[in-house]
């Protein structure tokens, strides 16, 4: 792990990866949150990132979306580096995300939240908005229409459209966050614990939704999730982080039987007994 490796041959795209992170390290003061994490997401796949609390999953996420900059290492999206780009530029490139603790624009309408998500795909400049040019109004109407479709896609009832985002039930708020992320037309969607706090019925719906996003829209998905049923059910590949380092990587079957993973999750006793 610690010995220096030659950079891999060819480009990430040639290897079929929409995103590649190489030796990503993030240090906060004296605390190493991520150490030399190598990580890749193939096109049109569902990949999960799991690990105990505090393993550095969300920190890793935040580096992919430009909220933090990695201390060292390289992140490539569709063959181009995204290190150093501000968050909104990364959204423009095509990475959308949701948040672990739901962070909607609570005092905006549900549809308004989704329309904010579409912001990067709108092109009218501010002075066109000021003058209310026909093209701008058409774009605005199209955005509203698109937002409605997305709300339908995530199965939010139509009557919620003009409701305050914060008034929605918990599960619907999570779905709204997904709709907002989808509105930016991402090629890669990062979901941070999308089923946290949901009841089994809602969890099943969300799982189904995630599969549909990949199957019908062709979006690659990276998932942080604690619910093992969800993770094992839909992921093609799983990466396990522990103490900021990559512990294991493989198919759900491989991860399930990996002794190191079991040890990290359940403690040493579990493996010896």
């Amino acid at each position: 792990m610690t010995q220096t490796q030659a950079p891999p041959e060819g480009t990430a795209t040639e290897r079929g990866h929409i995103l590649e992170a190489r030796k990503v390290t993030k240090v906060f003061g004296g605390l190493v949150a991520n150490r030399d994490v190598d990580f890749a997401i193939p096109y049109r796949s569902i990949v999960s990132l799991i690990g105990p609390n505090g393993a550095g999953k969300t920190t890793f996420f935040n580096q992919l979306t430009g909220i933090f900059q990695p201390t060292s290492g390289e992140i490539e999206f569709e063959g181009r580096s995204i290190v150093g780009l501000p968050a909104h530029r990364i959204v423009e490139r095509g990475i959308g995300r949701t948040f672990q603790n739901i962070r909607l624009f609570g005092d905006m309408s549900v549809i308004g939240n989704v329309m904010v998500g579409h912001h990067v795909r709108m092109s009218s400049p501010w002075w066109a908005s000021l003058l209310r040019l026909p093209a701008t109004r058409a774009e605005e109407a199209a955005t509203r229409q698109r937002a409605k479709e997305l709300l339908e896609l995530v199965r939010l009832p139509r009557r919620y459209e003009e409701e305050w985002a914060k008034n929605l039930p918990y599960g619907d708020q999570r779905r709204l966050e997904i709709a907002r992320a989808l509105a930016s037309e991402p090629k890669l969607l990062l979901l941070d614990e999308p089923t946290a706090g949901m009841n089994p019925g809602e969890t099943a719906n969300t799982t189904k939704l995630i599969s549909r996003l990949r199957d019908e829209l062709g979006i690659s998905i990276l998932l942080i999730e604690h619910d093992m049923k969800v993770v094992m059910g839909i992921s093609e590949r799983i990466t396990v982080l522990d103490y900021g380092q990559k512990l294991a990587e493989g198919s759900p079957q491989e991860i399930r039987t990996n002794p190191q993973v079991i040890e990290a999750y359940l403690g040493r006793q579990a493996t010896t007994e």
Partner: protein, 602 residues
């Protein structure tokens, strides 16, 4: 519960009494007493004390809060008892003042405890009996106020409105009377002059006019309500009263939905437009000038509203933009500009003012990009002062004249400095600014600003270039402020650094807060109330800041969302009071019922 209602009544009575004493002892009652409300019978000073008793009684009879968010109405007995108690306590405190003032000369310590105040409070010749009268009157007013809680809405509304109308028409005497006199001069065949004489006498309403209004207003309101009800009955079955209340709550807690203008709305807008065009001639010189001043502050308020209301950036140095607008206009147009005097016309200078505005907006914006909330407020406060000091400084004096300022700014061609003519460009630009603000607010830009105000980090992670939109907010706000400044310069005809102190920023912010943060009609009303009224009611001038402060505190307590709230912001403020009711509102949303927080009913 009755015991706790009475306890509350005692507290309210003591607070009201303290308020009444305060109002009396700072000299407000005496100062306002000469202002007639009903000439010969009631002065504004007495009315102020009466309003205090009224509010005390109304509050004392209000439903009790039981637990968070829930309220329980009181029965008739407790309501009357509680209000009687509150009113009597407040009255007794004033009565005590009268007795003390009669016995010793308080003026040694309290300058305003004067004979005038005593006159206003003495209803009989004897201090003791006057005190008793005060107790009785105060209690009676309080009981009447509390009794409103017992009446159904359809009776309560006409009563409160008739009282408010009488007070308003009387207070607005300077406007209304001048208007009627002007109209009379134009169309002498219509009985406007007679109407003016019928309504007003020596600055207040006549007794007959008061009585007529008290009778007429309820009739009109009841008639209007019946008309609505008939129409509703025609359209569908008549909704019950409680359903109506639910409907109202429903629309106010929900975000804006698109609506089309009905014919009657179009007629009202048409009439309003006609009024705007003819206003200077109906209102006369003095009022046109007041409207011009209000218009300047509408421009400032609309601009600041973009920065504070939409983008959520608390800017306390807004005066900087106002100053730059004035000075750029002055330098470019005045022949007296010290170093550089191109003597452009006002209209030719305006584009340069806008460019300067955008630049100064960016100059203020850049250094504060990373600051939020309190820090932003402090830094912008400093920047505002820096602007004033720069214009005053020796360093810039060769260009802008230092303390001497720049004189002889020509009025905009072809309009003179006559307020009745200057009115038009100011109002025109106010309308343009309002339209511009509205267009931006309801677009991609406004949405980005709102998102930024809600959560800057998430806005950035959702794809909004927060740097760009912050700067855009500052630049737009600056443009509005600078246009305001340009009109200020031509309106006064000269600029001096001392016109641009912190008070301008505070006024603009107060306008935005009073009117309703993020609300365009609110800004207009806020400017009319905070700038227009003091101009008209000269009695207030001395106490302006006191009233400002009291008004803002009262607003924050009673109506934090402002007079004409932005619906969005209203829900935000109302519901944060009831955060613990998360589950209740969740349940409401789940069953698809409108979420009504009880807090919003009050």
């Amino acid at each position: 519960m009755v015991a706790s209602a009475l306890r509350r009544a005692v507290t309210i009575g003591l607070v009201a009494g303290a308020a009444a004493l305060y109002v009396g002892l700072v000299g407000l009652v005496e100062a306002f007493q000469p202002r007639n409300i009903v000439t010969g019978y009631l002065g504004l000073g007495t009315v102020m004390l009466g309003i205090i008793a009224f509010v005390a009684g109304y509050r004392a009879g209000a439903p009790m809060r039981v637990g968070r968010g829930a309220v329980a109405p009181l029965g008739a007995g407790p309501i009357l008892a509680a209000s009687l108690l509150a009113g009597a306590i407040a009255g007794a405190m004033l009565g005590a003042l009268v007795v003390v003032m009669d016995a010793v000369n308080l003026q040694v310590m309290l300058v305003s405890a004067s004979a005038g105040l005593k006159d206003a409070l003495m209803f009989t010749d004897d201090a003791i009996s006057s005190a008793l009268v005060l107790v009785g009157l105060s209690a009676a007013i309080a009981v009447v106020a509390a009794a409103l809680h017992l009446l159904p809405e359809r009776i309560r509304r006409p009563i409160t409105w008739s009282l408010v109308t009488v007070l308003l028409i009387s207070m607005l005497e300077p406007i209304v009377r001048v208007m009627l006199v002007q109209l009379d001069a134009q169309w002498s065949f219509l009985p406007f002059g007679e109407l003016a004489n019928f309504l007003y006498l020596r600055g207040g309403l006549t007794l007959t006019a008061t009585i007529v209004l008290l009778v007429l207003v309820p009739i009109v309101i009841v008639g209007w309500a019946n008309r609505d009800r008939l129409r509703q009955r025609r359209e569908r079955r008549e909704p019950r009263d409680d359903e109506l209340i639910e409907d109202i709550a429903d629309t106010t807690t929900r975000p804006r939905e698109r609506r089309r203008l009905t014919t009657s709305q179009m007629i009202w807008w048409g009439l309003f437009g006609l009024f705007l065009v003819t206003a200077p001639f109906i209102l006369g010189v003095r009022l046109s000038e007041v409207i011009g001043t209000v218009g300047l502050f509408v421009l400032l308020g609309l601009g600041l509203n973009i920065v504070v209301g939409y983008a959520g950036l608390l800017d306390l140095g807004y005066v900087a933009f106002f100053a730059v607008g004035s000075y750029v206009t002055a330098v470019l147009t005045s022949p007296a500009s010290p170093a550089f005097a191109p003597e452009l016309s006002f209209w030719a200078a305006l584009p340069f003012v806008m460019v300067a505005a955008a630049l100064i907006g960016l100059m203020v914006g850049f250094p504060v990009l990373r600051l939020r909330g309190d820090y932003l407020a402090i830094v912008t406060l400093g920047l505002g002062e820096i602007a004033r000091i720069l214009f005053l400084s020796d360093w810039l004096a060769p260009w802008v004249g230092g303390a001497q300022g720049i004189l002889r700014i020509p009025p905009p061609e072809p309009i003179g400095r006559d307020p009745q003519q200057l009115y038009y460009p100011i109002v025109l630009f106010c309308i343009l600014a309002a339209i511009a603000a509205w267009s931006l607010a309801n677009s991609r830009v406004g949405r980005a600003w709102n998102a930024m105000r809600e959560d800057e980090e998430v806005a950035e992670a959702t794809g909004i270039n927060t740097t760009k939109y912050k700067l855009l907010a500052f630049a737009t706000g600056a443009a509005f402020g600078c246009i305001g400044g340009a009109f200020f310069a031509v309106k006064i005809g000269s600029v001096f650094p001392h016109s641009f102190d912190i008070e301008v920023s505070i006024n603009a912010l107060a306008i935005v807060i009073l009117g309703g943060i993020g609300s365009i009609p609110g800004v207009i009303l806020g400017a009319a109330v905070l700038v227009g009224l003091p101009e008209l009611l000269r009695e207030f001038a001395e106490y302006r800041l006191l009233i400002y402060g009291a008004l803002l505190v009262a607003m924050m307590i009673l109506r934090p969302e402002g007079l004409i709230p932005n619906r969005q912001r209203q829900a935000e403020l109302r519901e944060s009071e009831d955060d613990d009711d998360q589950y209740a509102s969740d349940a409401g949303a789940e069953t698809g019922e409108p979420v009504i927080t009880t807090g919003a009913a009050g």
